[in-house]
Amino acid sequence: MSLVRTEQLTKTFGALTAVNGVTLEVEEGSLHSVIGPNGAGKTTFFNLLTGQHAPTSGRIIFDGRDIAGTPPHRIAHLGIARSFQRTSIFPTLSILDNVWLAAFARQESWRGLGWRRADRYPELTRRALGVLGEVGLDEKAGLPARAISHGEQRQLELAIALAAAPRLLLLDEPAAGLSPDETRKMVALVQKLKRRYTILLIEHKIDVVMTMSDRISVMHFGSVIAEGSPAEIQRNAEVRRAYLGGIAAP
């Protein structure tokens, strides 16, 4: 069963076609990676899925309904959460509040919205702390988000996405700008999330993608030029020409 499926998804900005007729299917419970050189349209593709951009044409079928063009705040309520390539957090709010806000947004009812004290939602606070524990930030919960290192902010970025209890998790280069050591930690983290969430992953570090993914789609100039299992992608001549080049052994 596919959880999300795009059909001939296209996005143009003026004369530039950033995403060109992408048809892609993500199986429920799988980890599906999208790779491709810089400027291939991967992040734009994500922005279409999460409603940041409305597609020029094509359909996005999530859980059986077409969600193309739905604004981001509605898409979040359908159960699609994302992490951003460039860290996108609430710098002066506490780490706990960063995650708490993600959890609150997905509440069935927003009772007490303007009146109940935010620290009087024990269930939500417990959940937020649980997610922080998962990424290893629970001990820093009270610090403002701007006070932690870049690596920790990347973990917070992921925690914010997880706190929304998503059905589909979109991770846009979770290891961007991380040191080798931090990258290993992040990979272990994503590895742990595999199977618990349906994950669509953009990543540049090929070795990471090859070891973790169930399926890989390769984008080049806005189009998907190949799709398959890691082994199939590694053998694909066109992919090697477009992207892997010298990295993959012949």
């Binding site: 002066t92 919205l113 004290r117 935010a118």
Partner: protein, 316 residues
């Protein structure tokens, strides 16, 4: 928290001892006005340059009804709050469609429209002469004409306003508004309808402005044209920035500084706005969080002379 409230209570009790009662009342009225703006400017990051729209509209409508229909004081306050909230809903709906400079200009332009409407509609508003003869009816049989009695009534409403605002900024809504201030696209991606949340901030801010407007009209017995003018909008921004935008007590302190300077020092020195200007420059250059931040930094410096400045919840 308890210490701050204690300080506010002491200030409320002691102020009329040192300051003329009418001025003391004006300080808390202006503080209520500032609380409303602060929710927009300090917490949501929306610099509204048109708060006098809501203040003035409420003052005119409630003042008119008080003057010609002799409505009771609770009804007048309720109507003022309602008019403030409604006018803010209309203005806010239009303004939240845009952001940044365009947002600010829209709040300003709409303020000017309300101003010139009041200016032209002389049969109701009295135009440039203002609307005199706003009565101050009894409260449950109590005469609030003596300045101290009116001060007490204003002080009670101010304390209630401060308490309500504290509840709002500590609620999920308060956190959501701060999240929007910090990072709007992220707040939207989390599932918050940013435009609606901003509108909510407008409506709440407008309600506070409306309450302040009615109290102002009853304080001076007149709704002057300035009450809906852009200078008034600017003054409340000014006062809130000096006190500390983005912290609950900022506008309260700012209102005290602003009204006290303008009412006391102006009697001795006609060039008093120079002082305000200097205070403003100092705030902008050194203490973006206003008096509240300066105070926190002073204590942090006292506690640990060489430690870095204290972290406050003020946006930089």
């Amino acid at each position: 928290m308890i210490r701050q409230w204690l300080a506010v209570l002491i200030a409320v009790v002691l102020l009329p001892v040192f300051v003329r009662h009418a001025i003391a009342a004006e300080i808390w009225i202006f503080a209520i006005f500032g609380l409303g703006l602060n929710l927009l400017m300090g917490y949501t990051g929306l610099l509204s340059f048109g708060q006098a729209t809501f203040f003035g509209s409420a003052a005119y409508v409630a003042g008119y009804l008080l003057k010609y229909y002799g409505i009771n004081v609770f009804l007048a306050l309720g109507i003022g709050i309602l008019v403030g909230a409604l006018s803010a809903a209309v203005v806010g709906y239009l303004c939240v469609q845009r952001s940044g400079l365009y947002f600010i200009m829209l709040t300003f332009a709409l303020n000017q429209m309300f101003y010139f409407t009041a200016y032209q509609w002389t049969t109701v508003t009295g135009g440039e002469d203002g609307m005199p003869g706003v009565p101050r009816p009894d409260v449950l049989g109590l005469d609030i004409h003596p300045p101290l009695a009116y001060y007490a009534a204003v002080a009670v409403l101010f304390l209630a306003s401060l308490w309500i605002m504290q509840r709002i900024v500590e609620s999920p809504l308060g956190k959501i508004l701060q999240a929007i201030r910090e990072n709007e696209p992220r707040a939207e991606a989390l599932g918050y309808d940013v435009a609606r949340m901003k509108l909510a901030a407008f409506v709440v801010g407008g309600a506070f402005s409306g309450l302040a407007g009615v109290l102002y009209a009853m304080l001076f017995g007149i709704v002057p044209l300035e009450a809906i003018g852009f200078v008034f909008s600017g003054n409340v921004v000014f006062a809130t920035l000096i006190g500390g935008s983005g912290s609950l007590y900022g506008p309260v302190i700012g209102s005290f500084v602003f009204i006290w300077l303008s009412e006391s020092v102006s009697a001795m020195w006609a060039r008093w706005p120079l002082l305000l200007g200097m205070a403003f420059v100092i705030v902008v250059l050194f203490f973006r969080g206003g008096v509240v931040e300066a105070w926190a930094r002073f204590w942090a410096w006292r506690a640990a002379p060489r430690a870095p400045a204290a972290q406050t919840d003020v946006p930089r």
